[in-house]
């Protein structure tokens, strides 16, 4: 299902990135690998969409970027969740749960 997620609502990718960063600060590749891994390969994020999302989140003040060395001694930009980002993640998660429950109720109605 490569790149199927580009059909998803724009906010969904943002939410997945915020959730990944809620676990720990991470660089671009790490974030995409983590999303792929946790979703068991359902979501594979295209580099273009990923970096556009970083730019968007950064400008919205939800994440911060800082250059650091990786465990392999490479330099990489690590993204960190800001306080505002954490709040947004909480509210989005709640909203998402509400919507999923609502959709499930509609689909299961008989």
């Amino acid at each position: 299902m490569a790149d199927k997620q580009s059909d998803l609502v724009q906010g969904t990718l943002d939410m997945l990135i915020l959730k990944t960063l809620d676990l720990e600060p991470m660089h671009g590749y790490g974030i995409s690998a983590r999303i792929e891994q946790i979703s068991k390969g359902v979501f594979r994020v295209n580099a273009g969409s990923l970096f556009v999302a970083f730019q968007r989140l950064h400008r919205a003040g939800l994440i911060k970027g800082e250059w650091k060395a990786t465990e392999n001694g490479r330099r990489a930009k690590y993204y960190v969740l800001t306080e505002q980002g954490r709040k947004r993640l909480n509210s989005e998660t709640r909203e998402w749960g509400r919507q999923v429950a609502a959709i499930a109720r509609i689909l299961e109605a008989s």
Binding site: H27, S32, G48, R59, A60, G61
Partner: protein
């Protein structure tokens, strides 16, 4: 402050474009390298790994463009590039450029001139209390011209005007006026001036405030030849030296003595706009 950050970030990438681009370059290269390393760990050759990453994650050069295009400032950049390109092209063909500039300036100039004319003649309103409430009543179906100098309103006779004044119900007030040229002064001092001959209600209906003395009222009507007049502010300043009005001050108008009883305020210049 998300908006402020957007602006600040945008300005940063506009003015420190190289640095911002280099940063994005490095970030994307790191992404590619790390993804490739992951493939190589699973036993792929380097070339093969890079190719696989490109297939899976999309072209990184294209990704760069996508990221850049998503910024608002790239629009500014594009406009700037277009502008420079246009200027370069114009410089290469000076004949064409000159023709274009001359055409434009002629067009703009002509438009401005016509607008100025129209503005002066039609768009300005009279400097009176409620100019938008004024309406002009005239006889339109004029098969013939009237007598005398004032041919424009020649058909409107005095009895006709009195009927209108006494029986109209559409307006809060009506007045009649005519514009004439008169000789003021005696002998070699005689000079031409424009006279506005008005009915008694003229100043009240227009709502013109008094400047000096008193203004004409319906009680002043009827005298023929006229014996009382109100002068405009510029006339009072220039011809009468702004002196205090008294019954002794009289003008000789067409060899008749006329008493100056008042002065209109500075802004009022008559019934013709422009």
């Amino acid at each position: 402050m998300p908006t402020l950050r957007t602006i600040v970030d945008g300005l940063r990438s506009l003015f420190r474009k190289q640095r911002v681009d280099a940063e994005l370059d490095e970030e994307l290269r790191g992404f590619l390298e790390m993804a490739a390393e992951e493939k190589m760990k699973q036993g792929a050759g380097r070339k093969e790994a890079l190719r696989a990453v490109r297939l899976e994650r999309g072209n990184l050069e294209a990704a760069k463009e996508v990221v850049r295009d998503a910024r608002w400032e790239s629009f500014v950049e594009m406009c700037w590039r277009d502008l420079r390109f246009a200027l370069r092209t114009l410089r290469k063909s000076p004949g064409f450029a000159a023709t274009a500039i001359v055409t434009l300036s002629l067009g703009i100039g002509a438009n401005t001139a016509i607008f100025m004319l129209l503005d002066a003649i039609r768009l300005r309103s009279l400097p009176v209390q409620d100019p938008q409430e004024l309406a002009e009543v005239r006889i339109t179906d004029s098969g013939h011209q009237g007598m005398g100098l004032n041919q424009q309103y020649g058909e409107l006779t005095r009895p006709l005007w009195q009927e209108i004044r006494d029986h109209q119900q559409s307006f809060s007030g009506v007045f009649a006026w005519s514009v004439n040229l008169r000789y003021v002064g005696r002998g070699s001092e005689m000079r031409h001036f424009r006279e506005l001959r008005v009915s008694g209600d003229f100043f009240r209906v227009l709502g013109i405030r008094l400047w000096r003395g008193r203004l004409l009222t319906p009680e002043d009507e009827g005298a023929c030849p006229m014996t009382r007049a109100v002068v405009s502010n510029p006339y009072w300043q220039n011809e009468l030296g702004g002196r205090v009005l008294s019954p002794a001050i009289k003008l000789v108008v067409d060899n008749e003595l006329v008493e100056i009883i008042g002065v209109t305020p500075p802004g009022f210049y008559g019934m013709v706009v422009g």
